[in-house]
């Protein structure tokens, strides 16, 4: 239930944070159309309402393995180039004040390892269920317990 409070805090804080900064994905090359959402490896313009002491990006927030990166942020506008895809929390730190907002960074290219595990895990689970169910339905049913009615 400890997560209950954390989720509550996140849900309540998010609308307030939305007003503090904006994210504008930039085109990879000048001739390109800018993407609509942040993509791994591609630049994103972060524009702050006011200067802050520090900007942090926490990858996989609220997990057992968060990874915090401090951005090289000066002034109220700078470019961030996400090094990976996933859920990140952008935190603006101003003295004791901390304003956070989640952002989802999409993949530039779909990861082979993720596809591999998706397929392998699905095969084991549904293949195993299908195999066992096939044995169940394929055997001769005793009269006292038919396969189905």
């Amino acid at each position: 239930m400890k997560g209950l409070l954390l989720a509550l805090a996140a849900a309540l804080l998010a609308p307030v944070a939305a007003a503090q900064f904006t994210l504008t994905p930039l085109p990879y090359e000048e001739s390109e159309e800018p993407p609509e959402v942040p993509i791994a490896g591609r630049p994103v313009q972060i524009t702050l309402d006011e200067p802050v002491d520090r900007v942090e990006v926490v990858w996989r927030p609220n997990s057992a393995i968060p990874d915090t990166v401090v951005l090289d942020a000066t002034g109220t506008s700078f470019v961030w180039r996400p090094t990976r895809a996933g859920v990140a929390r952008i935190a603006l730190v101003r003295g004791d004040e901390r304003i956070e907002e989640n952002v989802s960074v999409r993949y530039d290219r779909y990861p082979g390892s993720g596809i591999f595990i998706l397929i392998i895990a699905g095969t084991i689970l549904f293949g195993g269920a299908g195999f066992a169910m096939g044995k169940l339905l394929g055997e001769e049913a005793p009269p006292e317990l038919p396969l189905d009615t």
Partner: protein
């Protein structure tokens, strides 16, 4: 097709008492057992744990837990039921003596408390489902807690939830869920089987609908791949392994007596290895697809997938659904209906586990056994739904009902199932001898368990469960008494009293039931081995 087996009231029916009955078909048993295993937690547990512990890398401890712990213990619990034709306590008594019966009754006594608040949570889900027809996902919300008294800017599931539990409406919803549970159990396996034949396929269908919705959202596929892409940093953390083993036990509903009760309605020659594999793979398969659906949606809306079953189901996911581009109310109703039916099939099995044990022990009718379980069950469920605001600052859980639920869940759920699992493995492993159980299982199965199964039951699984229990206890001992930081007005003593009450009450109840004479018919059943 007419059922050729003796009617349950036929006096010559082997190990079938009046009111116990038997499954009409194998498919009926499989649907019931998988419905029992697939519950509230399955919808969000896997996605939350996989996110917290490294995505696809979490599958390594997960599959190890499935094959080393989950399936073997399920084989054990199913086999105890078919070998003895008895519910959990009397099955253990038949196999290992009165000590086993005591463990069985202690398990069911804890299960009674767990059932009480489980049905309360289902009541909330039912109330949220009704709320989804109304303004839950479309209108601002308020609640009588600090920071929630003025209407929110838009829909806010968290505030709506706390406003709901601070009213008396959930009590009505809880009563409705109990009524549905009793209706499903009224004729035993006949009504259970009829219910699961509708609800279990519906569960799968609704989950597929949510998957399609999640994957068709912009970025949904990225979310799914993020779930499965491995980050092996988390694997080195011992909490990952503890979490995986504990989750597998909870996910498969082991240690609650339900699987043994359901299996006791099968003939003695049922293939329990095959049955265990089907139910376990279906359970974990459901978690797999639930993870796909939930993660796709949460990623698209940048919502944090970490959290408890409660916070994810009632706060985070509805917040995501509220952001859907269309059919918001429809998907909201869909989601909570899925939660209700997933939970209902599990609640039915929990009550049946207890009712069948009372029928076996006391020789009472099904109606009376159900009354013995549901009377205190309803009182307890209503207690967990009490709307009195005792923590207006939300330092803990806000209402008296949710506070009681949170405190009891922390102790009962985290310790009871794993302790029962440990005891049943030690009793079967060192008192009966697992080779005897294995011989019976192998006689009726196409697959054969080797001597490695004996070592799993005797040593490996007990070691794993002790590892998890000690870790959990260590967290509790070093982290301060759970709930002591909550500012509970007028009831600051609850964090101390609740665990003591649960522990003492379950021990006493188990002792009372063990010491009562066993009904003659149950005692004269064919020996198990």
């Amino acid at each position: 097709m007419a059922d050729p087996r003796p009617h349950p009231e036929d006096p010559i029916a082997e190990h079938i008492d009046a009111g116990r009955g038997a499954w009409k078909s194998k498919l009926g048993f499989i649907l019931a057992a998988s419905g029992s295993a697939i519950g509230l937690g399955n919808i969000v547990f896997f996605a939350s744990n996989a996110y917290q512990y490294g995505g696809g890398a979490f599958y390594l401890p997960y599959f190890i837990a499935l094959f080393v712990l989950g399936i073997p213990v399920m084989i054990l619990e199913f086999s105890m039921g078919t070998m003895t034709g008895q519910s959990f306590p009397l099955a253990l008594r038949k196999l290992v003596g009165k000590r086993g019966e005591y463990v069985g009754w202690w398990s069911l006594s804890s299960a009674l408390f767990i059932t009480m608040y489980y049905i309360t949570i289902l009541g909330w889900a039912l109330a949220m489902m009704i709320g989804a027809f109304g303004g839950l996902l479309t209108e601002p919300a308020t609640a009588p807690f600090e920071g929630m008294t003025t209407p929110t800017d838009g829909p806010n599931a968290t505030v709506y939830f706390f406003g709901m539990i601070a009213s008396w409406w959930p009590v009505l919803a809880v009563a409705t869920v109990w009524a549905l549970t009793i209706l499903s159990l009224w004729r035993g396996t006949r009504t259970i089987e009829a219910m699961v034949r509708v609800f279990v396929p519906l569960m799968w269908l609704f989950m597929v609908v949510l998957i399609v919705r999640g994957l068709t959202l912009p970025g949904g596929v990225d979310g799914v791949l993020y779930l499965f892409t491995p980050n092996f940093d988390g694997i080195r953390d011992v909490n990952v392994w503890q979490g995986a083993f504990a989750q597998m036990f909870f996910s498969l509903s082991l240690g609650l007596g339900t699987m043994t009760a359901y299996a006791s309605y099968l003939p003695k020659d049922a293939d329990q290895i095959n049955n265990s594999m089907v139910v376990s793979f279906m359970n974990c398969g459901f978690e797999y697809i639930a993870g796909v659906a939930i993660f796709a949606m949460l990623f698209v809306f940048s919502l944090n997938p970490a959290g408890t079953t409660l916070s994810l189901s009632f706060f985070v996911i509805p917040q995501g659904i509220a952001a859907f581009p269309f059919w918001v109310k429809a998907f909201g109703v869909f989601f909570f209906f899925l939660v209700v039916i997933a939970g209902l099939t599990s609640a039915v099995s929990l009550v049946e586990g207890m009712a069948s044990a009372l029928i076996d022990k006391l020789g009472v009718t099904r109606a009376r056994a159900l009354a013995y379980v549901t009377a205190p069950g309803i009182v307890g469920s209503i207690a967990f739904a009490l709307p009195f605001v005792v923590d207006p600052g939300l330092t803990g859980d806000g209402t008296l009902g949710l506070t009681l639920l949170d405190l009891l869940d922390h102790w009962a759920f985290r310790y009871a199932l794993l302790t029962v699992g440990l005891m049943e493995c030690l009793l079967i492993g060192w008192v009966l001898g697992p080779e005897k159980l294995r011989a019976v299982v192998n006689r009726h199965s196409k697959f054969h368990l080797g001597p490695w199964f004996d070592w799993l039951i005797k040593l490996v699984i007990p070691a794993i469960l002790i590892f998890v229990l000690v870790g959990t206890l260590w967290q509790d001992l070093t982290g301060g008494l759970y709930g002591s930081a909550y500012e509970i007005r007028g009831a600051e003593w609850l964090p101390v009293v609740i665990p003591i009450f649960w522990f003492v009450a379950t021990l006493v109840l188990a002792g009372l039931l063990t010491s009562r004479p066993t009904h003659a018919h149950a005692d004269h059943n064919v020996p198990a081995v």
